[in-house]
């Protein structure tokens, strides 16, 4: 048997697709002949096919019905097309909703995307075989590739696929001409959504499959324990009980649940367990520590106003967002080891010390400044403590003793200046080192750097120099043709293995260069210059 059958216990539920039921409710309203979008006829060579709707009508209906403006209605419509509820009649490969006269049609419910049913390879193979028959052997390039792949993988079922394809083809010919055309268009649209051609975005990217069906209501644990009844049996008992109640008062199965309500799946079972959970939750909520909302909201507002211009979702990033225009200049200009950073990046360093340290280029710049001031030991200690915290457990004791020798021992070459109490605690902790043994000292040093060195850095010539040198790239303005070109020229970027190796090399170089500074040699150099 194939793995597709329900009898296996594999992961097949797709939780992210639970929005589909809600979209269906909208589509059903949209196609209503009286209150929905008005359709017209599509005139082909010999036949006319009804129920073709224009893009602008769709956008207008959505904007009116859902109280949106036209742009948002356009993107909502594009989502409907991308999921496959509506398919375009002209230019069928591009799944966007164009708000002009281009025609669309509704997809039949069999071909709607459903959370439970994934588009299967065998069906795709049958479809490709049918298409092969119709086009007499000249499939598109990507289709031919898929066909060959499927022929290899599904080889044991290939006889069946060929037989079924021929039968479905002949059965299709038994229909009226217009219906045949419509069915072909529907099937083609379905497979373009579910098996998109190369280099196109697909709305069917939904993340990972889950093992548990997220739509099932949770059956009570307490009753299960009391009666030693399994969850499946209990839900069957519930069904029987419900049907008996229905027989008694003569109502139908789903009378009380309108389609839109049913789409929300929000009716939980109120039992002992449900209330017990609510109790625990509220008890824990009371015990939490609280901050005045005026304070926290003030902090949030300040954060948002500072970072507003740096958020690519709110303000378009310069030169252009690579995810939208397929042009990766933004990433090239913002690599961790770039020579000249962008203006936005440099501005961001001035927001807080944390931002400066987090950005590798900022940290490098800060290091240059500290080297000039001969006070690099603070940052070096902070970095060493980070390495201890996040590093491998095997090398921990070695690293700890190294740090002690270099930074904490009295008379050490790079002795850091922390208060006596912290020093005592840290030294004691270092006898039995663990990951967080340097936490107190690290925080102290961080605060020292933040309150003193950071502000000096921001006023220093090093920072001012880099502010002047920073680039501000001009925004890109791509036309549609150029966007298509970009999409076709997409190439994989630098491999993360190479970036990691580069990082390691840099670290090794820095470690070699940051050995204890030999004062004598330094003075000798200075004297020599005279």
């Amino acid at each position: 048997m194939t793995i597709r059958s329900d009898r296996d216990h594999g992961q097949r539920y797709r939780p992210r697709m639970s929005c589909l039921k809600k979209v269906e409710a909208i589509v059903v309203q949209m196609q209503d002949p009286s209150t929905g979008v008005k359709g017209s006829d599509q005139k082909l060579n010999v036949t006319t096919i009804p129920n073709a709707i224009a893009g602008q009508d769709i956008v207008a209906w959505i904007a009116k019905h859902m109280s949106m403006d036209n742009d948002e209605a356009g993107s909502f419509g594009t989502m409907l097309v991308a999921y496959g509820y509506i398919y375009p009649l002209q230019d069928h490969k591009k799944l966007v909703l164009k708000a002009d006269n281009s025609l669309y049609r509704f997809q039949t419910p069999y071909f709607w995307p459903v959370q439970k049913w994934k588009a299967e390879d065998m069906d795709y193979a049958i479809y490709l075989a049918k298409r092969n028959i119709r086009k007499k052997g000249s499939l598109d390039a990507y289709e031919q590739e898929e066909y060959n792949k499927l022929h290899k993988w599904l080889n044991n079922k290939w006889d069946f696929i060929v037989m079924q394809a021929k039968e479905q083809y002949h059965a299709g010919k038994a229909r009226v001409k217009a219906d045949r055309v419509v069915f072909d268009c529907q099937e083609r649209a379905f497979w373009i959504v579910n098996r998109p051609p190369r280099n196109t975005h697909s709305a069917m990217d939904y993340g990972m499959d889950r093992h548990v069906d997220p739509n099932i209501e949770e059956v009570t644990d307490s009753i299960q324990c009391l009666y030693y009844v399994s969850a499946g049996l209990l839900s069957h008992l519930q069904l029987v009980q419900n049907s008996v109640a229905r027989v008694q008062d003569g109502s139908q199965n789903r009378d009380h649940i309108t389609p839109i309500l049913a789409s929300f799946h929000w009716l939980p079972k109120k039992t002992v367990d449900y209330y017990r959970r609510i109790n625990i939750y509220t008890q824990q909520a009371i015990m939490r520590s609280r901050v005045k909302s005026s304070v926290s909201l003030g902090a949030m507002v300040k954060y948002m106003t500072t970072f507003n211009n740096h958020d690519p979702l709110l303000v378009p990033c310069l030169p252009s967002n690579p995810w939208q225009t397929d042009d990766d200049t933004y990433w090239v200009l913002n690599t961790p080891d770039v020579e000249v950073p962008t203006k936005m990046r440099v501005e961001r360093w001035s927001f807080s010390f944390y931002e400066l340290l987090n950005d590798p280029r900022g940290r490098a710049d800060f290091k240059i400044f500290l080297k000039k001031e001969f006070s690099g030991e603070n940052l070096a200690f902070w970095e060493a403590a980070e390495e201890l915290k996040w590093g491998a457990a095997a090398s921990m004791s070695e690293k700890a003793s190294q740090i002690f020798k270099t930074f904490l021992a009295p008379g050490a070459p790079r002795w850091i200046n922390i208060d006596g109490r912290t020093m005592g605690l840290t030294v004691k902790g270092l006898e039995h080192p663990h990951r967080d043994v340097l936490d107190a000292a690290q925080t102290h040093i961080f605060m020292l750097m933040k309150k003193d060195t950071f502000y000096r850095y921001l006023k220093s010539p090093v920072y001012k120099d880099i502010q002047k040198k920073a680039l501000s790239p001009a925004p890109h303005n791509f036309s549609d043709a150029q966007l298509e070109q970009n999409m076709r020229n997409r190439r994989p970027s630098l491999s993360p293995i190479i970036t990691y190796q580069k990082e390691q090399e840099e670290k090794a170089k820095a470690a070699a260069a940051a050995g204890p500074v030999d004062i004598k040699k330094l003075m000798a150099n200075k004297l020599d210059r005279k």
Binding site: R4, N45, N51, A52, T108, A171, A174, K177, R180, Q186
Partner: protein, 242 residues
């Protein structure tokens, strides 16, 4: 011979499966109707009968220990055909149950999707049942009654598949296909006039992607141009002379 009987029965099951799929795609759309529900019911019953017949025959053949290796390989291949057919049927039945529940026919305001399909599916169903004309005799509330039957039938099919899985020792991945890639093109020689029309209607592909068709397009345009010139010349000659 047992094998030929099996083959004919499998062909019949295959035909019914294909027709059932065509019928299920029409569910919920504007070509849905009482008739369609009844056709679905009849096709399903036929499929069930064929399935049971096939299963008994094939299990009898496979249980026989005295057959040769080639025969056994052949029966395993037929078995794989049978199980794939049944899987398609099962999925289609489950889909039709869901769609049937979502689109009831007996409500005051039906909301069937306007898909543009207007014809009926009688011919497909007739092909499935191998009859000339379909007779419709069901009563008005077929859609709700039928759904209950459908649920029981799905449970039956489920159970049958599980039994088959447990009892018959056939390794489906070990079967080798007899047909090679592109086999479907060989026997459909008579494609017919109607489908040529369909091809020209449906293929509205953008010109950049299909380079091969550009050459034929140019020749086509050239022919039309010369034809138009000829007609214009003839008309001009006639006008001058008359």
């Amino acid at each position: 011979m047992g094998r030929d009987e099996c083959k004919t029965m499998l062909d019949a099951l295959n035909k019914v499966t294909a027709c059932y799929r065509h019928l299920v795609t029409a569910l919920g759309s504007t070509s849905d109707s009482q008739n369609l529900r009844e056709e679905l019911k009849k096709t399903r019953k036929k499929a069930q009968e064929l399935a049971v017949a096939n299963r008994t025959k094939l299990t009898a053949l496979l249980k026989d220990k005295t057959i040769s290796k080639d025969d056994r390989a052949e029966y395993e291949r037929l078995w794989v055909l049978f199980t794939s057919s049944m899987e398609l049927l099962e999925v289609d039945m489950k889909r039709s149950l869901e769609i049937g529940q979502d689109f009831p026919l007996k409500v005051p305001t039906r909301h069937l999707i306007q898909t543009g399909m207007t014809g009926s599916t009688t011919t497909v169903a007739a092909r499935a049942m191998s009859v000339q004309n379909m007779k419709y005799e069901a009563d008005a509330s077929i859609d709700t009654l039928d759904l209950k039957d459908l649920e029981t039938e799905i449970a039956q099919v489920d159970q049958m598949m599980e039994e088959m899985e447990m009892k018959v020792q056939v390794a489906p991945w070990a079967v080798e296909a007899k047909q090679e890639a592109g086999a479907e093109l060989k026997s459909t020689v008579s494609v017919g006039n109607s489908s040529v029309g369909v091809i020209s209607i449906c293929e509205e592909e953008p010109k950049e992607t299909v380079e091969g068709e550009n050459g034929t397009m140019k020749i086509f345009v050239g022919i039309i141009f010369t034809a138009v010139l000829l007609i214009a010349g003839i008309l001009g000659y006639l006008v001058i002379n008359l």
